[in-house]
């Protein structure tokens, strides 16, 4: 078992065939749905990136190259399982069919933003989608997920929790606390480390990734740990499914390292050419997860370049329609906004006197 923490679980071989004991044997329909969710995520990312460049919002973060990490996991989990993501798992929301318009409203902080313009772009939150509020403070969600899972187990609730953390953020104490509590209380939680090899400008070695795999961090806590090719949709699906079954059977936590690659800059505030040689997506280690799944479908004989192009066109249309709708509700600096007085709400359940006074003082 411990060896799996140092290995790299893959299902797709060089000829795009699904092979080996981790083959999840998914149906064509499931795989096409996964491909569509990944394409939709990528199309969404590229529209929002453009919107930021056009000044329609302040900030954006893409998940390019990492779509399988989120989408395959979402498809392997039950739709009611609770996700504690970082800012790079928008694919979870997309795969769970959460509204693109709602996502965009949040990015634009517009008049329909469910988060009332309070959060920076991409810090989504959706109880309905089982997608926990993203924190700006790296790592905090990881140990919170364990608490949620402990609560679920103690209520004999069938739902499990899954959390994601970047390989860079594993250096935070929260990572350690998550492993400790998950192990001690055998919480039904899947702890995912997304090793996209970069943390802004620093290579994964600065988080200790050159000395051991991130999956092997689980060994010292007695947590079954798997290292998987994060750009292999089938492999990610398989390990997530395995971990979810364990959790649901009461066998406790699993740590999964998803080896992938941040194909683009950290965010719109970043310029990766200053610190890494080449952002040409052609050099993606392990290959583009979308291309690989598409090729696999083709190898199964149920997919063609034309179908792929058509699907790309379709998702672009979906995204564009959502974009138009969302922009009709305003963007960060244009169009209608929520009343500014709302900034005093929800600090507490009931507004205490000092905030009532400040609201009055503000004249808002």
């Amino acid at each position: 078992m411990r060896a799996l923490a140092f290995d790299l679980i893959r299902v797709l071989d060089e000829n795009h065939r699904a092979v080996g004991e981790w083959n999840p044997h998914l149906t064509d329909e499931t795989l096409v749905a996964g491909l569509r969710a990944m394409l939709l995520t990528r199309a969404y990312d590229s529209r929002m990136m453009r919107a930021q460049r056009q000044g329609k919002t302040s900030f954006y973060m893409k998940s390019t190259g990492e779509e399988a990490v989120a989408v395959a996991a979402a498809m392997a989990l039950n739709s009611q399982d609770m996700c504690f993501p970082t800012y790079r798992q928008q694919g979870l929301l997309v795969a769970r069919d959460w509204s693109l318009v709602e996502m965009m409203n949040q990015v634009y902080s517009n008049s329909h933003d469910r988060l009332k313009g309070r959060q920076m772009p991409v810090f989504y939150s959706s109880r309905e989608a089982g997608f926990f509020s993203i924190s700006g403070n790296l790592g905090t969600q990881f140990s919170q997920a364990v608490g949620w899972a402990m609560a679920s187990a103690s209520e004999s609730d069938p739902r499990i929790a899954a959390a994601w953390i970047g390989e860079g953020a594993t250096a935070e104490g929260d990572f350690h606390h998550a492993l400790t509590f998950a192990s001690v209380y055998q919480a039904p939680v899947i702890l995912n480390v997304v090793n996209n090899q970069w943390a802004i400008s620093s290579f994964s070695g600065i988080a200790g990734g050159e000395r051991a795999t991130f999956a092997s961090r689980g060994i010292g806590h007695g947590i079954p740990s798997l290292r998987v090719d994060g750009n292999d949709f089938l492999a990610v699906h398989a390990v997530t499914d395995w971990a979810a079954k364990r959790a649901r059977m009461g066998l406790g936590p699993t740590l999964i390292e998803l080896f992938t690659y941040r194909a683009e800059g950290h965010s719109t505030s970043d310029d990766p050419t200053r610190y890494r040689p080449n952002t040409d997506t052609a050099t993606w280690p392990l290959g583009d997860p979308i291309a690989r799944l598409s090729d696999h479908l083709a190898s199964r004989g149920c997919w063609s370049a034309a179908m792929h192009t058509e699907l790309e066109r379709e998702v672009k249309e979906v995204v564009d329609a959502a974009g138009r709708e969302s922009e009709s509700f305003g963007t960060l600096k244009e169009g209608s906004r929520l009343p500014a007085s709302s900034i005093f709400e929800d600090v507490y359940k009931i507004m205490p006197p000092h905030l009532r006074d400040q609201l009055a003082e503000s004249g808002l």
């Binding site: 609770m82 504690f84 469910r114 988060l115 009332k116 309070r118 959060q119 810090f123 939150s125 959706s126 109880r127 926990f132 509020s133 924190s135 700006g136 403070n137 905090t140 140990s143 919170q144 997920a145 364990v146 608490g147 949620w148 899972a149 402990m150 609560a151 679920s152 103690s154 209520e155 609730d157 929790a161 104490g173 929260d174 350690h176 606390h177 998550a178 400790t180 509590f181 001690v184 709400e345 929800d346 600090v347 507490y348 359940k349 205490p352 006197p353 000092h354």
Partner: protein
């Protein structure tokens, strides 16, 4: 009202936890040594046995982990009550308290929140040295989204703790450890007192709450207003008795949200105000109180608001009584302020 008995503060806290566990199956209690052992101060004694180890249990020595897990449980729908063994050890949990619990409701527009209570013994006078004596409340009262509660007697301890647990916002509940077993007025040279004869140690059985955000006028008076909380309420009472000054003593009970109305009325009436706390002075909660009183009662004040506090040093082991703002120092401040 339920029948009352005389309880110590630690018994009152234990009873509040027991009642909370009994009434709401979502209440979950954990922290270092709180399970089988019942806590190093015995606050959770017997609770694991009565309510089961799924609801009352030991946690790893990770304050950040404890609060994080509470936040996660709160998001699920539980109502966690966690113990930080000494308030001095709350700092490792600062990020989870400040960045997470305090802001969860705001950042999700009410979609999630953190109905958690963080209990922690605070304050000195037990030869605990600098890492078992601190009063860190002033750090957290600066953080929007948190409530901070500090009881001064068994009756309030039970009522406020139940209110804190039932509150849907995150509450820091600091317990003056020097009051666990008896009222303490700062006269460390005198024999230890017990709560047994104290009127505020009459604790009703069963469930009741003491509302958050309401101060209590412990003693009415005309010459000067004393704002205090926790142990310092008793010190202030001693100072008033010893000086014979007719002070109005207000036990704040809740720092955030603050009962400004009661404070304002009193300070406007007396025209003088002394703020007392054990924490270091600079940027302590007393700074906020002084800032508020001078603002709201400016034209009624005869003298500047004075602060009697712990010094701006760590809490020194062998010199804790030189550090502690005892009745002599409070009395001196009272005498001086009425001369102005």
């Amino acid at each position: 009202m339920n029948a009352t008995r005389s309880l110590s503060m630690i018994q009152a806290i234990n009873e509040a936890l027991d009642v909370a566990l009994e009434r709401d199956r979502m209440v979950t209690i954990f922290g270092q040594d709180v399970g089988y052992f019942g806590g190093v101060f015995r606050a959770t004694e017997g609770l694991q046995k009565r309510h089961g180890s799924h609801r009352v249990f030991d946690a790893p020595i990770s304050e950040a982990g404890i609060v994080a897990v509470a936040v996660g449980m709160g998001a699920f729908g539980k109502r966690p009550v966690v113990e930080i063994q000494f308030a001095d050890y709350i700092y490792p949990a600062a990020d989870q308290i400040i960045s997470e619990a305090a802001r969860m409701r705001y950042r999700t527009c009410g979609e999630w929140w953190s109905p958690i209570t963080v209990r922690s013994p605070y304050g000195g006078g037990i030869y605990g040295g600098q890492t078992h004596s601190q009063s860190p409340e002033g750090i957290f009262t600066h953080v929007a989204g948190l409530k901070t509660v500090i009881p001064s007697n068994p009756h309030d301890a039970k009522g406020l703790l139940l209110a804190a647990i039932e509150d849907d916002d995150p509450v820091l509940f600091f317990e003056p450890k020097r009051l666990y077993h008896g009222p303490f007025d700062g006269h460390h040279e005198r024999p230890v007192q017990s709560w047994s004869d104290h009127p505020d140690a009459e604790v009703p059985q069963g469930h009741y709450t003491t509302p958050l955000g309401k101060a209590r006028i412990v003693r009415e008076g005309d010459e000067v207003t004393v704002l205090a909380y926790g142990t310092m309420v008793h010190v202030a009472l001693a100072a008033v008795q010893e000086t014979g000054i007719d002070a109005e003593i207000i036990d704040l009970r809740t720092l955030i949200p603050l009962d400004l109305d009661t404070i304002r009325q009193s300070a406007s009436k007396t025209g003088r105000c002394v703020v007392v706390h054990e924490a270091t002075r600079t940027c302590g909660f007393g700074a906020e109180l002084a800032a508020l009183v001078q603002k709201h009662c400016f034209f009624d004040l005869e003298a500047p608001v004075e602060r009697v506090t712990g010094w701006d040093t760590p809490y020194p082991h062998a010199f804790e009584w030189e550090y502690f703002p005892g009745p002599a120092r409070v009395g001196q401040a009272l005498r001086q302020i009425i001369e102005v």
